[in-house]
């Protein structure tokens, strides 16, 4: 019994130390947001460019070390994203672990998106916005009828169709992350849409830390009061990035991030 109490006390101490590191020191060392006129992509690093029309989806493969830039050209779009490990699609993006492990529901430059296997799928290496949603998810048949009074294209159905074309089914569709969707909570836990945090030209660069299948859906976020039934196109640029060095800000952001990178690196050792 004494042993059990001693272990519990030691585990509580470790938890409080990790919490202090995660919510105080780690937050202070996160990089500043990218300036919208900064971080140009060299022409010879560009692999391909795509436009995703409003309401539509696209899928692409990202090899380890490649990055995906998603640009909200109009400042009025939101882009929902899913990712699976290419060699074993049972491994996929896990929003709950992403939030829990980093002690924060706020995704921004210097953070990572984790898989359900404790590995880093995507690193947020550039981000002008820092206003993204890991909690509420994309639009659905029900949410667009409630919002627009009629059936429109929506993220839930986009994901079903896009996944099917990759040989994946409904069980393969986890909760998604949505970029350029400034969802926060108030003191009572109600969701608040911070529309003032959206700007034309906002972009994120997501670096693949393993080989990935990625699907993105360009539909208005269900909480966006100004969201359009047929939103404007967004631009995707797949480009070559640098593999993360030992001093990469995403890798060194926290002890948790360092451990997640270490188990990810093992896949390629």
């Amino acid at each position: 019994m004494q042993d059990k109490q001693a272990i519990a006390a030691a585990n509580r101490r470790r938890y409080e130390e990790l919490r202090a590191a995660g919510q105080q020191s780690a937050k202070k060392t996160l990089p500043q947001p990218t300036r919208r006129d900064d971080a140009p992509i060299a022409d010879d690093a560009v692999i391909e460019r795509r436009q995703v029309p409003g309401g539509w989806y696209t899928s692409l493969q990202l090899a380890r070390g490649e990055a995906l830039r998603i640009i909200d050209v109009s400042g009025r779009a939101s882009v929902s994203l899913l990712a699976w490990r290419m060699e074993d699609t049972s491994e996929r993006i896990n929003c709950a672990d992403t939030v829990k492990v980093q002690w924060s529901a706020a995704l921004s430059k210097g953070r990572v998106i984790l898989s359900d296997m404790g590995r880093v799928m995507l690193s947020v290496i550039e981000d002008t916005s820092g206003a993204h949603d890991l909690l509420v998810g994309g639009s659905t048949p029900a949410s667009v009828v409630a919002r627009f009074g009629t059936t429109t294209r929506n993220t839930s159905e986009n994901f079903v169709v896009a996944a099917a074309k990759l040989g994946l089914g409904i069980p393969d569709i986890p909760p998604c992350v949505t970029f350029f969707a400034p969802v926060t909570t108030d003191e009572a836990g109600r969701f608040v849409w911070r529309g003032d945090r959206k700007q034309a030209g906002d972009f994120v660069d997501l670096r693949a830390e393993m080989n990935l299948l990625v699907v993105v859906s360009n539909c208005a976020h269900p909480l966006d009061p100004d969201g359009a039934a047929a939103p404007e196109a967004v631009t995707l640029i797949r480009h070559r990035a640098q593999l993360s060095a030992a001093d990469d800000p995403c890798r060194t952001a926290s002890p948790e991030a360092a451990r997640a990178f270490a188990v990810t690196d093992q896949l390629f050792a």
Partner: protein, 207 residues
Amino acid sequence: MAGSDVANIVYTDDIPAERPWSRVIRRGQTLRIIDSAGQQAVDALLYNAGDPAERYSAQDTLREQGSAYVVLGTQLISNAGRVMARITADTCGRHDTSAGCCSCESNAVRFGEETRYQHACRENFILELSKYGLTKRDIVSNLNFFMEVPIEPSGDFTVLDGLSAPGNHVDITMEMDVLFVISNCPQINNPCNGFNPTPIRVEVYEA
């Protein structure tokens, strides 16, 4: 641990600490989960018993509700946008559905490699789901009853000491026939179980 005072109890079971459990609960029946010793997180997944491709969706539930916690009156929404069940009684206060379940893999990242070989909720879920032909792919973001996870306006996200006292309960009334899967959380590295996992009781009753 004495049972509840509700009438028409058709099923009762004590789930030992760290163990999984599942049962098909019929439309109109209510599952009562009792936190027998207090401060015990109960991870839960719901599937349409007739078509398990329809399952609980945390994001749909939160979007429909417009707020981040599961409370009395919360409708538990499926990935097809339908109400699977409702929270019809709650003596605890609020519950989480954003933090997911613990796994060996996430424990190793959160708390250190030395915690990788500890039992975890995802082990429980995989084993229990395997009885129904379901796999790891079928595990989605789950409910965490009796788990206190405030989300601050800054985004700060913390698992705190559970608020539930011994004997607190939550009632979930089914709106369809539901395969209800529980992992009585084995986590010993954060305060969700008071660093000491304990048994819980489940009861199924009819109105």
